[in-house]
């Protein structure tokens, strides 16, 4: 062992050099690192929200709502499909008890109808299980039931879209370091560093932002509308400001999908904040046609099934832009504009967990955490030197390299340092010396048994290695399970522990062994103080 092959020496130093190089950027401010030359490593350790300050939200999809929406969408598709030539006359289309059913005027068309609606259902994945089951009843009724596989797929697709929508809403410019990830099958985790007002965040995300333009039903009797009843083909919707109800036609004239962009603006006369939206070409055409045909009639602007306002159409609006007003503040108008241009959420999201740390508190924590870590490292280093002398210094050098390697690897993987992570770091420092303690104690022991210096060192390293291996594997098992099953702080702790175990075994065994070997080869010591 005292004549390690050249390649081994180089490999060890190369690994350390790489690790340290990737750790260095973490000691400089982000703005400065950004100006470094291209070839220089720029990996920086990120701080978790508990350290950096910021908000975290865990959102859960309202699956009942998703299923309802899916049924409603299928209802639309089915009625459209049946209206295609040759027409199939159907009535009593209804959505109830989680299924969609309709009755045929002409029972002989049953097979044709089933054939027709079946084209609306698809196979899922490799098994080809269908998204809907179509069955018949009483010879003239078709019943469509969504399959669990179909629902699961719909949720999966909706969650992917929802994640992107949420990201666009929080970070329209794409510059903030937000994290938006899907968690499990029906959750989205949102982390926004630096924001300590989660309310704005929740308002932004909470809006489904389904925008619709519908004509107001002027035939409706106000007394009946107040009681929540509307003529056929119309529905009663509440006003957004809580001032009663209004009846609108069911037919959507223009919808939010046809919006090209939305922006917060100010009303030229009153100076009140409002929102200017621009339609895409199809939307502009429809909006123009609708307003031309209905001059003088009131037009309802509906957001998430609440009527924002119902102004009269004074003249045809042909330019493809429209202005929405409705008692906004600059803030709410801006939020709504962002929500509208990011598209509507395919499923309602409820916040089920919320954590916020103010940036100040985070700063204090980082400081005292770092100070405590530094003191802990120095205390352990001092302890090592007075216990093992030269071999203690080697262990300490390994310790410093180990700390840098942990930083470097965390930088490479982009894993965030959290408060429990700092505790994990300190624990790793404590445990990292264990490998060296095992080796050094073993060398002492072998010396006592009368072995010569070189022999004692060699046997010490060799005999200690099984214990080091077994002891660390058990820790790896614990840390891996912690990471897999844990969430939040547990994960932060586990990741540092996992990285720390690997690097500490490497530095404690390979690196210090190399240092000892080089020293022995050069000096041929006659006595060994350990």
């Amino acid at each position: 062992m005292f004549d390690p092959p050249k390649w081994k020496i180089w490999t060890i130093f190369l690994a350390i050099a790489l690790g340290v190089a990737f750790a260095i950027p973490s000691f400089f401010p982000r703005s400065e690192v950004a100006t470094w030359p291209k070839f220089a490593p720029r990996t920086q350790i990120a701080y978790g929200l508990d350290l950096a300050g910021g908000s975290q939200l865990l959102l859960e999809a309202d699956l009942a709502d998703a299923t309802r929406q899916r049924l409603a969408a299928m209802e639309d598709s089915v009625s459209q499909e049946l209206r295609r030539e040759p027409r199939i006359q159907a009535g009593d289309i209804s959505v109830a008890n989680g299924q969609l059913s309709f009755m045929l005027r002409d029972p002989t068309q049953l097979d044709a109808a089933v054939e027709r609606v079946r084209t609306l259902t698809q196979g899922v994945g490799l098994t080809g299980t269908r998204t809907w089951n179509v069955s018949t009843q009483d010879g003239n009724r078709v019943i469509m039931v969504p399959t669990p596989e179909g629902n699961a797929q719909a949720v999966k697709e909706a969650m992917t879209v929802a994640r992107d929508v949420v990201r666009r809403r929080i970070d329209p410019s794409g510059t903030r370091e937000v994290t938006v990830i899907n968690q499990g099958s029906n959750r989205i985790l949102v982390q926004v560093p630096g924001i300590d007002d989660p309310e704005a965040l929740k308002r932004l995300i909470g809006q489904t932002a389904r925008l619709e333009f519908k004509l107001v039903d002027q035939r409706a009797d106000p007394a009946q509308v107040a009681q929540g009843r509307a003529p056929a083909g119309s529905q009663v919707l509440p006003m957004a400001d809580g001032q009663g109800n209004i009846a609108v036609q069911r037919r959507v004239m223009v919808s939010g999908e046809q919006i090209a962009s939305a922006q917060q603006t100010f009303d030229q006369q009153t100076g009140a904040p409002n929102i200017t939206i621009r339609f895409d070409s199809a939307g502009a055409k429809r909006f123009g046609r609708t307003t031309t045909e209905n001059v003088g009639k009131p037009f309802a602007i509906i957001l998430d099934n609440k009527v924002l306002s119902a102004p009269n159409i004074n003249e045809p609006i042909l330019g493809g832009t429209a202005t929405i007003s409705g008692g906004f503040t600059v803030e709410t108008a801006n939020e709504l504009a962002i929500s509208l241009s990011s598209g509507k959420l395919p499923v309602k999201l409820d916040p089920i967990e919320e954590r916020t740390v103010s940036p100040d508190l985070g700063k204090d924590s980082i400081q005292s955490g770092l100070i405590a870590s530094a003191i802990a490292i120095f205390a352990v280093m001092f302890f090592m030197v007075i216990t093992y002398g030269r071999f203690g210094w080697y262990a300490n050098l390994g310790l410093v390299i180990n700390a840098l390697l942990i930083l470097g690897i965390m930088g490479i993987f982009g894993s965030a340092l959290t408060l429990p992570g700092i505790a994990g770091f300190v624990l790793t420092i404590g445990a990292a010396v264990d490998a060296n303690v095992l080796i050094n104690e073993r060398i002492r022991e072998e010396q006592r048994r009368g072995r010569k210096i070189l022999d004692a060192i060699e046997t010490g390293y060799k005999e200690a290695s099984t214990a080091i291996f077994d002891a660390n594997i058990t820790n790896v098992i614990a840390a891996a399970l912690m990471w897999y099953f844990g969430s939040g702080p547990v994960r932060g702790f586990a990741i540092v522990l996992l990285i720390g175990i690997v690097t500490s075994v490497f530095t404690a065994v390979n690196f210090t062994r190399l240092l000892v070997a080089l020293w022995v080869r050069k000096n041929r010591p006659r006595e060994l103080h350990i």
Binding site: E199, F383, T387, F485, F493
Partner: protein, 320 residues
């Protein structure tokens, strides 16, 4: 330079002489700990029972009754208000409303709003809201992680050593974990997600210690086949004693620094690991070693297959 030796050379402490006393003591303390948990219960944080917490620092000292009145006026549940010594920093905790999973997150906004409206200059430092649904999952995942870690490690040790060692490790772990649980029941320190991390760290460290000793026992079992079991355990423990003391010492030193100088937020986490390290060191000597005697480990337990039965050829030396 004279080097420090915490443990003198060639110690010959008869650890096993007191093994029965230690065992009775351990059983008693374990029972006491578990009864404490059963009687007093653990002070579970909102991570596990749901609810919301807001920590706020006020510009002026405030009257706690005024504060309580304002929070209760929101009618979002019975507030528990705790001060942090200086009558300017308070923590408000509210129970989780049943039903609506999104209600927790909404309430925290209301509380925040009330504080900011009524107390100009207030700094709302941190707020957390966990719905009952998530908290149940967090509690389940935490328990699962700790149990699986214990089991996984025990199985690994069973494979690397012998089944008795696996059982020994499991019993040792159970002992350590109950001890720390008892501590939390006694002090009523809050148990949150951080503490789960602490428990897993304890499991990892306690095992680390036990494995090092087991490793030496295995080595000596192979080396001294004629030696009496108790004598062999004493020898192994004495041989590893110096390492045990130095390592535990350095870890506890590091943790003590974190306890004294570190942020308040990780006080519970740190003190749990510190206590666990101490208990883990004790138990690896007084529980994990003697249990091997009771489980019938003998010097021939590690004889290689071909030594045991020379007639059977082809054994690769694996211990089965």
């Amino acid at each position: 330079m004279k080097l420090l030796k915490l443990v003198p050379d060639n110690t010959n402490i008869d650890f096993m002489r007191v093994r029965n006393i230690a065992l009775v003591l351990s059983i008693l303390v374990t029972i006491a700990s578990l009864s404490l948990v059963a009687v007093k219960g653990l002070n579970l944080g909102i991570d596990f029972v749901g609810g919301q917490v807001v920590r706020a620092t006020f510009a002026q000292p405030v009257n706690i009754e005024d504060l309580r009145g304002r929070i209760n006026a929101l009618e979002v549940g019975e507030a528990s208000i705790q001060d942090f010594g200086d009558s300017r920093t308070y923590q408000v905790r509210l129970p989780s409303p049943p039903g609506d999973p999104a209600a927790s997150a909404r309430i925290i906004g209301q509380v925040r709003g009330t504080l900011e409206k009524n107390y100009p200059g207030v700094k709302v430092g941190a707020g957390e809201a966990v719905s009952g649904k998530v908290s149940g999952e967090l509690a389940r995942d935490g328990l699962l992680a700790i149990s699986l870690a214990m089991l996984g490690i025990a199985i690994y040790i069973w494979f690397r050593f012998e089944w008795q060692f696996g059982v020994g490790a499991l019993v040792t772990l159970f002992h350590d974990v109950s001890m720390v649980l008892g501590f939390f029941a006694l002090t009523q320190l809050q148990v949150d997600l951080n503490i789960v991390a602490a428990f897993l760290a304890i499991v990892g460290y306690s095992l680390n210690d036990t494995v090092v000793i087991y490793d030496r026992i295995r080595e000596n079992l192979r080396k001294y086949r004629k030696m009496q079991m108790l004598q062999m355990l004493n020898l192994s423990l004495n041989e590893t004693l110096s390492r045990t003391i130095v390592t535990s010492g350095s870890i506890m030193l590091a943790l003590a620094m974190l306890l004294i100088f570190g942020p308040d937020v990780i006080f519970g986490l740190t003190i749990a690991i510190l206590l666990g390290t101490f208990v883990g060191t004790y138990s690896s000597i007084y529980i994990s070693a003697p249990i091997l005697v009771w489980l019938g480990v003998r010097p021939d337990s590690f004889l290689k297959a071909e030594d045991k039965a020379p007639a059977v050829a082809g054994g690769d030396g694996a211990v089965v």
